[in-house]
């Protein structure tokens, strides 16, 4: 996919993150262009989660900037002068978590309408119609009245995806969204993500599913020891790695 800088939706510039004395991210740069699907791979503890969580300010970066459509993201919830607020950013950058984090006291439908109604002040009727559409899209049209505790892991994760999509995000961030699932339920979630990719959704995906990453990603980043060690097409990074640490890593996941 060819892109120009005008297409940049979300970017990290010189991003640093430390937890106390532990420096996890040592100055990373990433530009997510519209329609791009970037897969983040790397060993456990390499900072993949920290990185993706900085992209929507779920973690506060220790240094560097996050840019949303060219505008710097500030440290306040609301927009302030030139910088855009964290709230504004998150309204347009969705996130899906490893452990779903559905709201257990709300039905599936309410989980999906909560953001539009509370944050975007969308009229209830409109939000519900849109939620039903999205639930149908992720194959859960009949589950709208169920509570999350009565769903399988795969169903929960699909509701979580619908909840994120209900905000009509410009970007979707997914952090190991299939890692907590039983193996037989992984496929149904990956199918939904693949459909999103085909529909042109911009995504950053942390995953250990190498075959899936190779298949769906327009670009693959290999994070290692706090830096982006490799950045290229799936072909180069996953299928024919040259970097010895990357070779070892990929070999382990090919099993």
């Amino acid at each position: 996919m060819t892109t120009t800088s005008n297409d940049a939706v979300l970017a990290a510039v010189g991003l640093r993150k430390s937890y106390g004395a532990l420096e996890v991210l040592k100055g990373l740069d990433l530009t997510l262009a519209r329609g791009e699907v970037v897969a983040l791979i790397g060993p456990s503890g390499s900072g993949k989660s920290s990185f993706i969580r900085c992209l929507n300010m779920m973690e506060t970066p220790s240094g560097g900037d996050i840019l949303f459509r060219g505008r710097k993201v500030g440290d306040k919830f609301r927009d302030a002068g030139e910088t855009i607020g964290i709230g504004t950013l998150r309204r347009q950058v969705g996130m899906v978590f490893q452990h779903f984090n559905l709201f257990p006291h709300k039905t599936v439908l309410q989980n999906v309408t909560e953001g539009p109604i509370v944050v975007c002040k969308t009229p209830r009727k409109e939000a519900e119609d849109r939620a039903r559409e999205l639930l149908a899209k992720v194959g859960l049209a009949d589950k709208h009245a169920a509570y999350p505790n009565h769903l399988s892991g795969g169903q929960k994760q699909r509701v979580a995806i619908a909840r994120a999509l209900a905000m009509d995000p410009q970007v979707l961030l997914l952090d190991e969204v299939t890692s907590a699932l039983d193996p037989e339920l992984v496929g149904e979630v990956l199918t939904v993500i693949r459909q999103l990719a085909e529909a042109g959704m911009t995504m950053a995906i942390v995953t250990h599913e190498m075959a899936f990453a190779a298949d769906v990603a327009s670009r693959v980043l290999f994070l290692d020891q706090g830096v982006i060690a490799e950045n290229g097409s799936a072909q180069d990074v996953i299928l024919k790695p040259t970097n010895p640490r990357l070779q070892a890593f990929v070999a382990r996941f090919r099993g």
């Binding site: 919830f77 309204r91 969705g94 978590f97 984090n101 006291h105 509370v118 944050v119 975007c120 505790n149």
Partner: protein, 222 residues
């Protein structure tokens, strides 16, 4: 003891005193529960705030009231506190104040425990769809936390009901105090105090039943 002549009639002739005592017990219990909830809520908010000195003040208050007996607190507020500030304090004010501060310190811990027991992922999921911290607290965290803290809250309130009997030592005319008054008038301690005990049980039994019912309902809805 075998041929003791029970005489509830003489004692029960003073039923108006018992009724008044019951009323006072109920007023002090529910009054202190009300003020205690307000105090507990504020203390909990202070503990969860990011302002260190506020946290510390809340913590000190809580530990003082949780780590000393209620009886000691009542005596202190009624007899010692007025000397400290150079005045006098009405025994009813001292009683309500002490009961409220006492139960507030426990409520604060119950509220705080309920809130921090909610998985961090809930707050993150709320934040991820753009909710402000306030929206997240009101719509996502509190509804779950309240449900979780309800059994402990009811339990603490039942204990408070019983603890309210201690205000009789500073001459607040509650049920326990009135039983002593009736005893003084009738010289019938066995009957006076038996009636008192029966009345406490009659007041509390419905509350414990409600508590059990609530707990069953909550468990069923999980």
């Amino acid at each position: 003891m075998t041929n003791y002549q029970w005489d509830f009639f003489t004692v029960w002739q003073n039923y108006d005193l018992f009724l008044y005592g019951m009323w006072i017990t109920v007023v002090y219990t529910f009054g202190s529960i009300f003020f205690g909830v307000v105090i507990g809520f504020m203390t909990c908010a202070a503990r969860l705030s990011s302002w260190r000195s506020l946290q510390a003040i809340a913590r000190i208050y809580q530990e003082i009231f949780r780590c000393s007996p209620l009886l000691v607190q009542l005596l202190w507020f009624y007899y010692a506190f007025p000397l400290l500030v150079g005045g006098s304090i009405d025994n009813r004010v001292a009683a309500m104040l002490t009961l409220s501060l006492y139960v507030g310190s426990f409520y604060a811990e119950i509220f705080r425990g309920g809130i921090v027991s909610i998985d961090r992922g809930q707050r993150e999921a709320a934040a991820a769809i753009g909710m402000s911290p306030w929206q997240s607290m009101v719509r996502i965290i509190l509804p779950q936390a309240l449900k979780r803290m309800l059994p402990s809250f009811i339990n603490q309130s039942i204990i408070q009901f019983k603890n309210s009997s201690l205000v009789s030592v500073i001459s607040v005319a509650d049920l326990a105090y009135m039983a002593a008054v009736v005893n003084g008038q009738t010289y019938r301690p066995l009957e006076s105090y038996t009636v008192m005990a029966a009345l406490y049980i009659a007041l509390l039994l419905p509350l414990t039943q409600i508590a059990d019912w609530v707990e069953r309902r909550l468990r069923a809805s999980d």
